[in-house]
């Protein structure tokens, strides 16, 4: 099949090494600095606050949003994570998930609004989102390392890119699903586009947007675990060292802790979506 050699690999490397890195490194460095401070702030907060307090807050939150069942599960789950010595690792994972979910919402929801109100933007977004979602997740890790080195920052970047599509898609969908007669009525009474968005479209799209946030957070959790391959601290690296040392027990406890986190985060955000 190789009638001729297509040097895509060489070109890409040339582009990255000769142009992207030298020219843009200042830019990437400043992003890196800001993001690192942000991640460390959140991680420190979660690690410094006594586990009992975080646990109690989480239990109360679960109770309020999803009821007694989840509250009980959260209680047992937190105690389990603490008793297998993984509390700190869990908090590191949670902070990567929180920071990248925050970024995904910050960027994804406005993009969703734009594509709901502008056909051209939607048509441009769709293939990009498809591409982002179908690419295997660890492919994101390579450019992230290249541009941001090792550790938490590239992990958050990769996670953010991986987890943003549902936020965009579901916001777009939610706004487009608002019944047209309601939109028409609001316009007929003289709403500006801004009033239409804030008073009608966003409130009515909120349940769908929250469902998107839930998906985003779940994707972020799965990516945060994979990102341990590029040195992100947390439960992912626990599992990774379980694998590399052939320590089945360590792998299992790490894996269970991830499952516990996933269930708690999922049910809480699902509850929020239902309440919205």
């Amino acid at each position: 099949m190789n009638y001729f050699y297509f040097p895509l690999e060489d070109w890409t490397n040339h582009f990255v090494n000769e142009w992207l890195l030298p020219v843009m490194s200042g830019f990437f460095n400043s992003i890196s600095t800001v993001l690192r401070a942000f991640i460390e702030g959140v991680t420190n907060l979660l690690v410094v606050v006594p586990p009992e307090i975080i646990m109690i807050l989480l239990v109360l939150l679960s109770w309020k949003i999803a009821g007694k069942g989840l509250a009980l599960f959260t209680l047992i789950g937190c105690i389990f994570i603490g008793s297998v010595n993984l509390w700190e690792a869990a908090m590191q994972t949670v902070s990567i998930v929180l920071v990248s979910t925050f970024l995904s919402i910050l960027i994804g929801v406005p993009l969703g609004i734009l594509s709901a109100t502008n056909k051209v933007i939607e048509r441009m977004m769709r293939p990009i989102l498809d591409f982002m979602q179908t690419l295997p997740s660890f492919v994101y890790l390579i450019p992230a390392i290249l541009l941001f080195g090792l550790g938490g920052v590239p992990a958050v970047i990769a996670t953010f890119v991986f987890a943003t599509p549902p936020a965009v898609r579901m916001t777009n969908l939610g706004i487009r699903q608002v019944p047209s007669d309601v939109v028409e009525a609001s316009r007929a009474f003289g709403s500006t586009s801004r009033q239409l968005l804030l008073k009608v479209q966003l409130p009515l799209a909120l349940p769908t947007i929250m469902a998107g946030v839930n998906q985003t957070m779940m994707l972020a959790l799965s990516m945060a675990v994979i990102a341990s391959m590029i040195g992100a601290p947390g439960l992912g690296s626990t599992v990774l060292s379980g694998i590399s040392r052939v320590n089945v027990g360590l792998g299992l406890t790490g894996g269970l802790a991830i499952v516990v986190l996933a269930i708690i985060l999922d049910r809480i955000t699902q509850g929020l979506a239902k309440k919205a």
């Binding site: 007669d181 309601v182 028409e184 009525a185 609001s186 316009r187 007929a188 009474f189 003289g190 709403s191 500006t192 009033q195 008073k199 009608v200 409130p203 009515l204």
Partner: protein, 399 residues
């Protein structure tokens, strides 16, 4: 003065509306344009005007362009060509802010599917129009409460739309339009989604409100009875064009073409209905021997300006106006000499159809007599409502 004045308004849906417009102006038909270019002519070079305080009804079959037309009036749909003057200002030429301002202050709309905001209570739905104008909370809620009361929904302020019946939701829609205090109401099949009883109730209420508030109303319906009942004037649409405009009587009497006569065929019951079916007992009658002084008193009490006069045997004698009664009293003229006999007569078996034209022309009710005796009177309103109610009776019988 004309509140709304529409001239040569055209809307073509499709990729090259300007080209379609050229074809239309060259006299091509809507169907040809659709076949040739795939574009739909929604409204075709239409002109009409609505006077202040008038209920102007637009009627037509499904797809004739009624909804498109009414949405062009407040520019929810952008016109392809033509002029729409609201209080003399052309809405088609307004910039965005002026358009928004005009919608807020002058044009309120009521929708067939209600278009209520499901996440808001009745109160905040009704206050929505004022809220987006920046009216402060206390004032807008006061106004909203007032119009909620006007439509008879007091006590439901805190309910959500999905907790209300269809009729109640449409009342909310109406209250929302009223709260804005605009002169013009645009109503697109506002009552079509309601069941017949509620519908009739809403029609009566609308007429009531109209009497009280004197709005200018552009009302869309595909129901002839509703049009006859509500419309001061009725426009009939076909394929995006208005084929006839006139009062109910004009249209029933002289349908402009076959389309219109097919439309009003429904009222063929007017041929079946007879004067006796719709006549009413006159509210007050004057006996021949009462004399002019008594006549003045009776008219005053009843709040009318003319009265029918009969003798002991109930034989019809004539009509006495208040001016003539006073004159007769002052100048001591015998009452017989001032009685008017220029009223229109009918016998109990006269077909209603024959009376439609007369009722529109005459100032006084038509007098139904049999063998010289007064049987009843028929007003313009009772003819029209007879046409409408006649059908309702049929429905009751057949079900």
């Amino acid at each position: 003065m004309n509140k709304i004045e529409v001239t040569d308004l055209t809307k073509i849906f499709g990729s090259h509306p300007k080209q379609g417009l050229k074809s239309l102006k060259n006299g091509e038909q809507k169907a040809d344009i659709l076949k040739k270019t795939g574009m739909t002519v929604g409204v075709n070079q239409t002109s009409f005007s609505v006077q202040a305080g008038e209920i102007f009804v637009i009627m037509g079959l499904s797809g004739s362009g009624k909804s498109t037309l009414i949405r062009l009036v407040n520019r929810l749909i952008e016109p392809t060509d033509g002029e729409i003057l609201i209080d003399g200002e052309d809405i088609t030429k307004m910039d965005k802010n002026t358009l928004i301002e005009t919608r807020r202050k002058k044009l309120a709309m009521v929708f067939q599917q209600f278009g209520l905001l499901p996440h808001r209570t009745v109160l905040t739905n009704v206050a929505y129009g004022l809220e987006i104008q920046g009216v402060d909370k206390a004032e807008r809620e006061k106004k909203a409460l007032k119009s909620i009361e006007d439509v008879g929904l007091k006590g439901y302020e805190a309910s959500y739309p999905n907790q209300l019946s269809g009729g109640m939701q449409q009342r909310v829609g109406l209250a929302r339009a009223l709260a804005n205090d605009s002169d013009i109401l645009l109503m697109d099949e506002a009552f079509s989604a309601l069941d017949p009883l509620i519908r009739k109730e809403m029609q009566d209420e609308l007429l009531d409100l109209q009497n009280k508030l004197g709005k200018t109303i552009l009302f869309i319906t595909h129901d002839l009875d509703e049009a006859l009942k509500l419309g001061d004037r009725i426009a009939i649409m076909k394929d995006g064009e208005i084929v006839q405009v006139g009062t109910a009587e004009e249209i029933l009497e002289n349908p402009a073409n076959e389309y219109v006569s097919n439309f009003v065929k429904d009222v063929d019951r007017s041929k079946v209905l007879e004067a006796s079916h719709v006549m009413k007992k006159p509210g007050v009658l004057l006996s021949y021997k009462d004399g002019p002084r008594m006549a003045v008193r009776k008219m005053e009490e009843a709040g009318v300006s003319s009265i029918f006069v009969v003798d002991k045997e109930n034989n019809f004698k004539g009509l006495l106006t208040i001016d003539d009664a006073i004159k007769a009293y002052k100048e001591n003229i015998p009452m017989e000499d001032v009685l008017l006999d220029t009223v229109h007569f009918a016998s109990p078996t006269t077909p209603l159809n024959d009376l439609i034209g007369i009722a529109a022309e005459t100032k006084y009710p038509i007098v139904v007599v049999e063998d010289g005796k007064l049987k009843g009177i028929i007003s313009r309103v009772s003819i029209l409502s007879g046409l409408v109610l006649g059908k309702e009776k049929d429905e009751v019988v057949s079900s």
